[in-house]
Symmetry: C2
Subunit: 297 residues, 2 copies
Amino acid sequence: MNILDELSKYKRIVDLELEKVMPKEDFPQKHIFEAMCYSIFAGGKRLRPVLTLKTSELISGSYEDAMQIALGIEMIHTYSLIHDDLPAMDNDDFRRGKPTNHKVFGEDIAILAGDGLLNLAYETMLNTIPLNSRDYVKYILAIKEVGKAAGVFGMIGGQTVDIKTNEKSFNEERLMFIHNNKTSALIEASIVSGAMVAGANEEQIEHLREYGRSIGLCYQIRDDILDKVGDKSLLGKNTGSDEINHKLTYLSLFGMDNAIIKIQSLYNEAIESLSIFDKERVRFFKELASYLVHRES
Amino acid sequence: MNILDELSKYKRIVDLELEKVMPKEDFPQKHIFEAMCYSIFAGGKRLRPVLTLKTSELISGSYEDAMQIALGIEMIHTYSLIHDDLPAMDNDDFRRGKPTNHKVFGEDIAILAGDGLLNLAYETMLNTIPLNSRDYVKYILAIKEVGKAAGVFGMIGGQTVDIKTNEKSFNEERLMFIHNNKTSALIEASIVSGAMVAGANEEQIEHLREYGRSIGLCYQIRDDILDKVGDKSLLGKNTGSDEINHKLTYLSLFGMDNAIIKIQSLYNEAIESLSIFDKERVRFFKELASYLVHRES
């Protein structure tokens, strides 16, 4: 398996399905459709929805039932990027090599485009609940899992603490809270929701949750490393912004050597958490963990 | 029945239930909890959730099943006010006689508080779906009704067109689109979702939808009238802002006399749509329509 080919293949599947659910009619409110589509189709890696589909496939052999939840998760991820980039937040002009949403559509429409994507995420996920089958429970539990990860006890909570943390109040506990909530929570929920919809048992869910937590943190620390030593052209954004903004990261707290050691240990934990599954069937997840440790973009 | 007493009584019920679901723990992200609670408990009339409870009561005799959906609707309404007040949107400093959310907590936290309330609305509504009863379908349909009204085919769509409409592109069709989507859609969904959860039949739902549409538009036009001739101290905000901002309203398009005629005709339609119900049981709804026509705040 070539992990990049496999990621591309599933990214294309997600892209095609997003094309189907994103509104683009010539309606009076078409400006908001354009702004939402601009960011949704701005060339993201689709890591989260691909994880949802792949986890569903691992458990049940099929990703069909998990599709709308995967799309909802990508919409939630995208809305959070639009709002994070706003002048009142991180004030970023570029994202994935393209001008950020508010730079193209204005701040007012960018705020509404974020709101619209968050709302559409729930509309999309709700649409997948069957109205004539006892099976509905697993969908509701999966959507609740996503809801918690996206909300004030997850991503929004992490972003709040990130904003409210300064050099004085900064410590390892806060850093872990920020990373676990701002980044890992939605990655973890991507994996767990896919497993739930596919009918995973509790042991499987707990092991996959562990895997998600490990690669989520891994992903974030690698992000911080790339911000310091990454290639601007590969990343599609300026590097060094953490240092310029005096942003407190794992790197600034523990230094590069310890960050690399930490990533390696998280990688080992991720692999270990997969031990209850058949080796052949979790190849994708192992190779993905390795890819995240070494990625350059 | 004294309509103000009845509204106060149900407002208190909603307030008490909101106290139970709003997060306020001393967690690292407590800043976001404070900001969300600030706006949720800023003294709103609770018109929408009261309508949900009252409609549920009309159909089934009880409002219990509709409670979490009512709370979710109030959270959605509140988030939309926080985001509408932002400097990039209407740039309002006061709301209900108090400084707006971003004036107290900063723009970054205000954006997140809005996001947090929208997400919490869905978490709250999802929590009310029973996991062991065929009854779940009516809850899902009710939440979808709210979701559509809140999203880009409802409130967010209306707000987008409002922002993108200038004196040149303004006409009656656009005005109706803005009013029907920005204001009426969520009021209509408040009523319809309460009816759905209570087990209303299609005829009842359609008549209540008609009622909601009429009073929703009535509410908006009365708002525009109050902005011109209302009492600042009763309203808790500055008047005349529509004129200062060259805002295009029913009033600016058709003048005061026609606005008053329109409100009266909407009132008649609202009363007519209640004709299929037992007279005694819809007294609240009739008196509410009358109150909305004449309200001073």
